[in-house]
Every structure is written in C-alpha cells, then in structure tokens.
Amino acid sequence: MPTAEEVVAMLCEEGIVDLPAGFPANGDLFAEGMDSMAVMQLIVVAEERFGAIIGPEDTGRENLATPADLARLISMKSGGAA
C-alpha cells in the first residue's frame, strides 16, 4: 500500500496537483490548488493504481487533505490489503 511519498509521486505524475519538490506528508493539498475536479481524477487514479474504491462517503476533507491522509484512505479502501 502506498506511502505518503508514493502518493505525492502519483499526484504529480498524473497531473492531479502540482507540488513543489519535497512536499511534506502532512502538507495541505487543498492549499496547493487541489479542488473537487482534481479529487474526481484522484479517485479514478487511486482505483486504477491501487484498486482502492473511494466512495462518496469517503470524500470528506479529513480523508483527503494531506498525502498521509490519502495514503491511509487508499490503504483502507483497497480491499483487504490494509
């Protein structure tokens, strides 16, 4: 399951949000310009890469705000591997 660093790499590679080099695991992604459109893309990519099924009930700010939050959410939602 992804580490926060792998989440940062995924966000940048997929063009979901532009992050400066060395972006911290607890950095605020929304402050870097992640919006609801980017979150849609993120959900699609997380499913493609990790098989994580992120549903409407999971898409609160508290689950998405930082790379560490996202790593935790993706682990939890990718069927049994958590």
């Binding site: 979901i16 609801s36 459109m37 979150v39 849609m40 893309q41 959900i43 699609v44 099924i53 609160g60």
Partner: protein, 411 residues
C-alpha cells in the same frame, strides 16, 4: 450603412473596442451573431471575469485602467458582491451572464454604437477608402461599409475571408472547450468534495457517462442558483475543430446529454438535489481557443512567463498560462515573481494589412500565450486598445499613437 469602424463580434473584446471607438467620436457598427453582446461571458455562461487583477498580493489590484476597470465596477454594482475573490494565487470577479447582457445593452446605447444583432459577416472586399462587408441576416444579405475593420470574432473570421496570415493549433493540443449550464432548485444540496465523490461513483457504476468526470458546480451568487461546468474532450467523435459545424454540433449535444444525465442522477441520489432542475442552457459551448491572427508581434508564452514588457505595450496580461489541453482540469503556469507581461500594439495589427486590427482571444500570439490572454478581463483591455487604434486609422493617423493616447487617457 456606413461607418468609420466596423467591429466583427460583440464578445468582451468587441464590446470594449466598439464602445471605446464610439466614445472617441467614431461612427461604429458592431456586428454580432447572437441577440445580445458578451460572447463567452453571456452566450456561453462563463461566470468569472479572469485577468482583471494583478497576480498575487493580499489585496486585489486592477491591472488595466479604462474599460476593464469600468466593467469591474459596473459588475460589482450589478451583482452586489463585496468584491473579487482570491482563488489560489489569482483574483477573480464572479460575474452573472444575465447582468452582463444588460450592462452591454446599456454601454452600447450610452456610447452610441450602431449594433446589428443576428448579423454575421460572410464576405469582405477592399474599397478605395476601406472595406465593404457582406452581412448575412435571416435568409438574406445586407452590406455595410467602413474605413477600418476590427476582428474580435474570437475565431479570426476575417483572416478566413480575406486570406490573412493566421494559424490554428493542431487538434490534439487545442485548449478543450467548456460547457456551462444553469441549475436551480438544489437548495442546500450536497456540494464540493462529497458531490465529486458521488459523481465518480456514478461513473464507476456505469449510470453516468465518463464525460461527467469533468463536471463541477459553483454558486452563481443568486439564491439557490448554480452553474455546472463540464470540460469536454472535444474529441467525442473525431478531431476537435472549433471552426467545423459538425464538430461544434457534437460538442453541444455531448454537453447537454452529460448535463442532463448528471442532474437526473443527482436528483435521485444526492441529498438536497431532489427538486433540482436545469434552468438554463448556453447558447453555445464555450470555445477556449480557435484560429489566431499572425501580427507584427507574436506574443509568446515565454514572454508571458518572463513578465516581459515592450515599449509599445497596450495592456497587461495578468492571468497565468491556464492550460486545458485535456479535460482533466487546468494546469497553471505562473510568471516569474507574478510579474505581469505587456501585450504590445503589434499583437493587434495583422501582418501585411492596413486598416485592420484584432483583439481578444484571436490576437497575435502563440498557443502558450493564448492560454493567458484569452480571459475576459484581458480581452476588455486589448479590445479597448484596438478601439483606440481603429479610430486613429479611420482618421488617417498613425495607429502607433494609440500607445501614448491610451496612457494619456487612462493612465
């Protein structure tokens, strides 16, 4: 009908050019294919004025004096909004298309512009003292003549008609179009991130088309009214070509079908959306990029990113390069130190032509710079400058004086 200046297209740039030229005392004819002015900001329901303010800063600072500044003030009065809002590093002014239509009517009337709605230029010929324009109206043609033409069509239509130097980015890299529609009846409905999650869920379950992934909603500023915006791929079937009626037809149909399917889905599944309905379709899908003129100066993306100034600048470009080459959201590139670049007069003067000017999203620039200068706030500014230059040319004076004249007039 005879005029000093004929303006082709009454979008943000054409409105600015026509009103500015008329205020300078010129006889102006403005040709517009729709029944109102405003272009992208009215017919396509684009509801933010971008490019009006300097980048960054803790307080909004208007970038271009004169018409753009006047439009900001008039829109704030019309909507009653307290001021612009900061989204990330940029300041934007929420605008309402219905107010924009009304303001445009008032501006055109006050300034004495001769407007022809439901009129589209189809052929242009040279005359000894200017131009003769054949205009299509409902099932027939009429003729207008004028000394100077201003092409603010957004598609450089004049270049197509007289064989002027122009270019169109290859289909794969053209900025993707936006489809914007109005919604009412979703009172305190689910919004933001949970709504985004719900739409992805609908696509995953196969009850929504994949185009719905590009859809997001924003409050219009009026009670219980939203705008939905879909970024279309433009390649629903075949290559994207903003000058091709068959392609534009596919865009319109895809936009409407996606909007309708998504709102129906949200009515069924999202809390607070039970009573929602689509209250307004756009007159046309919002084309971001089309054919551009090649002028005496071709503004480049590097110049915008470097915040480069020129001795003959007529406006400042203060919007980042906003790339929409895919329908997966914007990619923004900011100039060094948030420094605004200048747009020189040469960008408004097509190569090898006299008594022709251009402004707005089809002015002379490359694909990268167009990603900045296409926004409405900047179009007001370049349109204003084209209006001043056109009046000078109509009087037989050197349009280069427009640079000094703009500074003297507006600071």
């Amino acid at each position: 009908m005879t005029a000093d200046v004929i303006v082709l297209g009454a979008g943000s740039a054409g409105l600015a050019a026509a009103v500015t030229a008329a205020r300078e005392g010129a006889r102006v004819i403005l040709l517009e294919r729709h029944g109102f002015a405003g272009g992208m900001g009215t017919a396509s329901l684009v509801h933010t004025f971008c490019g009006l303010y300097r980048l960054g800063g803790d307080e909004p600072v208007l970038a271009n004096p004169g018409f753009p500044t006047e439009m900001a003030a008039r829109m704030l009065t019309a909507t009653g909004a307290p001021g612009p809002v900061k989204m990330g590093r940029v300041w934007v002014l929420m605008q309402h298309p219905v107010e924009f239509v009304r303001m445009s009517d008032e501006l055109l009337k006050e300034s004495g512009v001769g407007v022809l709605f439901h009129a589209e230029a189809l052929a242009v010929e040279r005359e000894p003292d200017g131009w003769r324009v054949r205009v299509a109206c409902r099932g027939g043609m009429t003729t207008v003549t004028g000394k100077v033409l201003v092409d603010t069509s957004g598609d450089a239509v004049l270049a197509g008609m007289i064989g002027g130097a122009a270019e169109l980015t290859e289909a794969a890299h053209l900025q993707r179009p936006a489809y914007v529609f109005g919604i009412q009846g979703a009172t305190a409905g689910e919004s933001g991130l949970p709504l985004a999650g719900r739409i992805v869920d609908g696509v995953r379950r196969g009850v929504l088309p994949k185009e719905s992934l590009g859809l997001h909603f924003r409050a219009s500023g009026r009670p219980a009214e939203l705008f939905g915006t879909i970024d279309l791929s433009g390649t629903e079937e075949g290559d994207y070509d903003p000058l091709d009626a068959a392609c534009l037809t596919r865009l319109e149909c895809t936009g409407r079908a996606t909007a309708a399917a998504t709102v129906d889905f949200l009515k069924r599944e999202a809390s607070g959306w039970e009573g929602a309905y689509i209250s307004q379709w756009p007159v046309r899908a919002g084309v971001r990029e089309s054919r551009r003129w090649k002028g005496r100066h071709i503004l480049t993306g590097q110049e915008v990113l470097g915040g480069i100034r020129h001795p003959d600048d007529i406006a400042l470009a203060t919007w980042p390069l906003e790339f929409r080459e895919t329908n997966r959201g914007p990619k923004l590139r900011y100039p060094e130190g948030d420094r605004a670049a200048g747009i020189p007069l040469g960008c408004l003067i097509p190569e090898g032509l006299e008594r022709v000017f251009t402004a707005g999203r089809c002015l002379s620039c490359d694909h990268e710079a167009q990603a900045s200068i296409r926004v409405m706030g900047t179009c007001f500014a370049t349109g204003q400058a084209a209006g001043i230059a056109a009046v000078l040319a109509a009087k037989g004076e050197d349009p280069k004086s427009a640079v000094a004249l703009l500074r003297n007039k507006f600071g």
